[in-house]
Symmetry: C2
Subunit: 704 residues, 2 copies
């Protein structure tokens, strides 16, 4: 494909759509291609015309564009030809680099002073001029690059060009490279009043205001290296193309590199007026950043600025990665950042209701502190939940919800691979799905309605509707007044319903495969998250070789262990716990299925056993001795279903559409429902389901 020859097009911070459109036009692209150029990069500024991006292909230019960049120096350097609007900054920066330049005049501008500068420089053969975008193609075709005369920096000083110059566009972050020549040319009136230093300061101020902030100390020559970024500059004003490094990716291999990170200032620890340590956090990772007063690099004012930051404020830190001799204990990353620049994006109020470091401590840390007589602040569950937006910032919470996301998505992927279809059933329904008074009621356009306690009826209706296998992940609502560690009024139901060919064990098979798959995936792919959770909430990994027992066998095991139990009644929470212990001891697993439950304690739609109507084709699944799943074969026969509903005291009128479905003939089917938060809680050995709900809802909590 030959040598890379790039054309760089810039409109600065102006809007000059006609130029961009002209460059994007076939005649100009053809002219450039014929002149041997291979790449076209366009900086479109505030324009509304977006060129077509073109990937490399034979016989055509590769085309790319972007909007803004604080410095276009790199683009200019790699260019073999520059096409620019008539902005003086762009012109001088290009000429200083000795690059061939075509300036395109914007005829739409009234009072176009810039044109004069361009015309003057063109007359000195420093550049070519196209007096309007429509003339660009012909200018490119005809230009003879050999004729150009190199520009000599400083040439313009005191020159007649100077007098006519009034800048209308701001400069483009070229402050550091500004030389006295154009600096004087551009801001002669100001330069006249002061010294070169004043001119430099003006440039710095412009640079800060453009790309960083406006607060700075007039007397600090390093004031452009820190400050608060004004809100205006955060309203999608720029696209600089800079790259931010994730805090979690910082490692010793990056030693010596300059990196830019954005995160929360979790801790700010000045050790003197000359040194301050910042711990900057991004999701589960933290890094230590150091500012030490150093001539020409870090001013005392900059250290003061860093010290004055409020905890949790969002900062941009630019600095050099270094590797300290001793391991770092106060942050997750084993490198430090020697800060060079520090800007505040968003400032937190000074007194936050929760200190993230307090909220992140483990019981072990509290105990150690107690032993050494230290008083650490404990953050209670209610304080956490009342200020969930802060509480969620602890590494453990960041990890818990990543585990939840990873687990549920692995589950979906497994089911999809087994030909399940994901469905979405209505949450506002006419009747109560499973009976009982524990439903949230509402008025639906004058009709009585309630929130679905589960997708039970509708997922079964989907099977009636011809789907072989379906699943749903969605909210379920329980108005129960349960104040336990494992009940919520709103949680995420993970529901499966499937055709059964012969036996409800087919459903149990799916349960076992599904959860073994999920647990394997979490252990294999979320080890970092699990470590982070363990650091605050230590737990033993679960053993999950699946085991099946009948309900009767479970009852027998309990009896043999001396636990009194109603043989045909439901298991109490304590009995469940005990059984979990017994099964764990005997079969070395925390994950088991209890089948063949007594019919009397199951919902009306549960299929009775074929040989003993006291029992049912149903099961519960247990993890660490707590129930996580209920499932069964469903009654597909309309007569039997009606009979059972009536026996269970269900008002069949309110669920008539469900009851009717079965009259259209339905395949054998079964399924199960799991509570997502409960699974995450038990997998991670947590003590409260509220820890696994982003914004939990219980009988007393409706906010945040």
């Amino acid at each position: 494909m030959g040598e890379r020859k790039e054309v760089f097009v810039t409109v600065g911070t102006t809007c000059f759509d006609k130029l961009v459109a002209a460059v994007d036009s076939e005649p100009v692209k053809a002219a450039l291609f014929c002149r041997g150029f291979s790449h076209l990069k366009i900086q479109i500024g505030h324009g509304n015309y977006f060129p077509s991006k073109v990937s490399r292909q034979p016989g055509a230019l590769e085309v790319d564009y972007f909007t803004f960049s604080p410095t276009i120096a790199d683009h200019l350097k790699s260019a073999s030809l520059v096409i620019s609007h008539a902005g003086s900054e762009s012109i001088f920066e290009t000429l200083r680099l000795g690059k061939p330049l075509v300036v395109v005049l914007n005829e739409d501008l009234m009072d176009n002073h810039q044109a004069e500068l361009a015309e003057e420089l063109a007359s000195r053969k420093h550049l070519f001029i196209a007096r309007g975008p429509h003339l660009l193609a012909v200018t490119i075709e005809r230009m003879d690059l050999e004729l150009l005369v190199p520009y000599k920096p400083g040439e313009g000083e005191g020159d007649q060009i100077n007098t006519s110059l009034k800048l209308t566009s701001p400069c483009e972050g070229s402050a550091n490279k500004q030389e006295k020549g154009e600096g004087a040319l551009i801001s002669k009136s100001k330069a006249k009043k002061g010294t070169k230093k004043a001119a430099q300061r003006h440039q710095d101020r412009a640079a800060i205001s453009l790309a960083r902030g406006s607060e700075y100390d007039e007397n600090d020559p390093l004031s452009s290296s820190y400050g608060n970024i004004p809100l205006e500059d955060l309203q999608s004003k720029f696209i600089t193309g800079r790259t931010w490094t994730d805090v979690g990716e910082l490692c010793a291999e990056m030693k010596g590199e300059t990196v830019l990170i954005r995160g929360a200032a979790q801790a700010i620890r000045p050790t003197s007026k000359k040194i301050v340590f910042l711990v900057v956090r991004q999701s589960m990772s933290t890094v230590q950043c150091i500012l030490v007063v150093t001539k020409d690099v870090i001013s005392p004012q900059m250290v003061r600025f860093a010290t004055s930051l409020s905890k949790e404020s969002i900062v941009d830190v630019e600095g050099v990665v270094s590797v300290p001799d001793k391991p770092i204990t106060g942050a997750t990353q084993q490198v430090e950042i020697q800060v060079r620049k520090l800007y505040c994006i968003s400032r937190a109020v000074p007194n936050l209701p929760i200190n993230i470091e307090d909220a992140s401590r483990s019981e072990t840390e509290f105990k150690k502190a107690e032993e050494s007589g230290e008083q650490l602040v404990r953050v209670g569950q209610d304080t956490r939940l009342n200020n969930r937006g802060l509480d969620l910032r602890t590494p453990a919470n960041q990890a818990i919800f990543r585990v939840k996301s990873a687990g549920v998505n692995k589950g979906r992927q497994f089911l999809l691979s087994k030909n399940f279809v994901e469905i979405f059933t209505p949450k506002v329904i006419a009747g109560s799905s499973e009976g009982g008074a524990e439903v949230f009621k509402l008025d639906y356009k004058g009709k009585p309605a309630c929130l679905a306690q589960s997708p039970q009826l509708h997922k079964q209706m989907a099977i009636c509707g011809g789907f072989d296998r379906v699943f749903e992940v969605g909210p379920v609502f329980r108005a129960e007044n349960s104040y336990t560690h494992r009940h919520l009024c709103e949680f995420v139901g993970f529901d499966v319903e499937m055709e059964i060919k012969e036996h409800y064990y087919e459903v149990c098979d799916i349960v076992e495969e599904l959860f073994v798959e999920i647990f394997n995936h979490l252990n294999d792919n979320c080890s970092k998250e699990l470590e982070v959770i363990k650091r605050q909430y230590p737990f033993q990994p679960i053993k999950y070789s699946p085991k099946r027992l009948t309900y009767d066998e479970g009852v027998r095991m309990l009896k043999e262990a001396g636990v009194e139990i109603e043989p045909m009644g439901d298991l109490s929470t304590e009995a469940e716990k005990k059984l979990g212990k017994l099964v764990s001891d005997k079969y070395n697993t925390d994950f088991f299925i209890l089948t063949k439950f007594p019919l009397g304690i199951r919902p009306f739609y549960t299929m009775p056993c074929h040989d003993n109507s006291e029992y049912s084709n149903s099961f519960d699944v247990f993890l660490r001795g707590e129930e996580i799943i209920s499932g069964s074969q469903r009654i597909h026969d309309p007569e039997m279903l009606t009979k059972r509903a009536e026996q269970c005291g269900i008002d069949v009128e309110t669920i008539s559409t469900y009851m009717e479905s079965f009259r259209n003939a339905t395949r054998l089917h079964g399924g199960f429902g799991a509570g997502l938060e409960r699974i995450v809680m038990l997998f991670c050995g947590l003590n409260n389901i509220r820890k696994c709900s982003l914004f939990p809802r219980d009988p007393q909590r409706l906010t945040p």
Copy 2:
């Protein structure tokens, strides 16, 4: 690993856990392994003891188990040794096949008549006996297979064994292979009353009742080949290990194979008393099945049974695949099934409110019929939705929800690959998320609450809570009285919220990548589904090279096309449609983003433009000229947010926890919300959003 030598263990339909446990014990497995056996297959019947499955590995038996099978003949045939309970059926079937047999007596059975038979046969050296499971290992170790005397079928007739025989367990589907000897032995009293034919019929009846059904014609020797399966047999009574073939997989390559399918009898077309055609449907696929009266294969009674089936009844069809000379037009699969067996699993009521063939027709078919003077039944939208459980069975509906599932999951996978975390936010909230009166209100334990109109506030709070990038797929609720083709009161929101580094175009970038990825995936992987949809609802595939325009540019295009438009007002549905046409014509795409909307028509949390507060950093996304997505940069500054909320008349008290979150400092962020049903509707060119909601909710519809 040497030759395969299999041990088959059977307990028939009894529960004989001690035998299964003994076989699963190390001494027995070791004894078998030492005797050169490589595989152990256990039929555990009604037992509750589940052996450990063991995969092939050096130095150990491979172990597998199952519960029931209608015929164990194949297992017996492939076995080199059989271990059985003392059931006479199992014993005789094994001996007839000339297989070495060890019978294990069940000491727990009172009045164990079977033991007598086993003892007698053991005394004749036809088998070995273990007088209890605890003696099995030693029996295996010591048995000398050379000593066994082959059993001669019929040997028992009139014998003294006979007289002591009373069967306690049902036989095991060996009807067809029954020979007169044991037949007489087993049911001598009955055999005495009748003929050999009567004995045969008894066996047949047992076989039907066990595996198939109880309704049959006493006088039809083929009565075991068809009938209604009694409900009891469908209550997870058996695991036969049979394999059902999916209708969609039936193809010409299977010619001559015997297959078993389960599906709905969509059409039943008798052409005479001797021939009937069934069209059997499973999800999107149908196959033609033929019954022709044939001596010893299909009786006239069987054809009568098939003809009497009601449409949509669920049937098991066993038959031989054949390939007709002419292409099949009445079904999707290009093969026929020559039926051999036909059982009804679930019978539909005779007069269904919807005929699936009527509900599956395209407009083209209706037009053709009209032209030829034929009167076809049209099924209206309300009839469909009122009977959604039937309506969903049409192939197009089966396909639409598969496309929805595939699309949303591809979207999730894409976002996960870009480090987004899936979250679940509460649907019951204290305030209204976006203002306005269009919320469903409810009482939450005495507190006023409402259903979330979007996860807007909570997904932003998740960003405040330290998550970089989140998404949610979940229900959203709108109490609007909109009766259009594109509004629902409950639909699936696809919501994304993410940190912005600099510019809200970062969000637009994600939108473009996400949807191009989804659309590519659907075209590449759901071509069958899309074809099925097109067959009933023809549509042009969308063109989706993304294009970005500003709102002003869109307005200008409309004006140039003569459309009157309020420059700072919202686009009407008509204007949107028109703009979609204009963009499609000019840029050859149906997928574009309109950026920089007027601030006045966006929600209070939308970030204004940095240089013109009349405009905002926001966008809408359009597909085929209809809005599918709204997005923006959000205001992260608490003061600006409060000011904007007040300007927009929001009661900030009701959303105080949201407002407070920003005081803890928050990164720049933005996001968007899409409506899943609307995307599916537009991608598939459908005319009504209700077609894309499984059980739609609109202002008048709360059921089914």
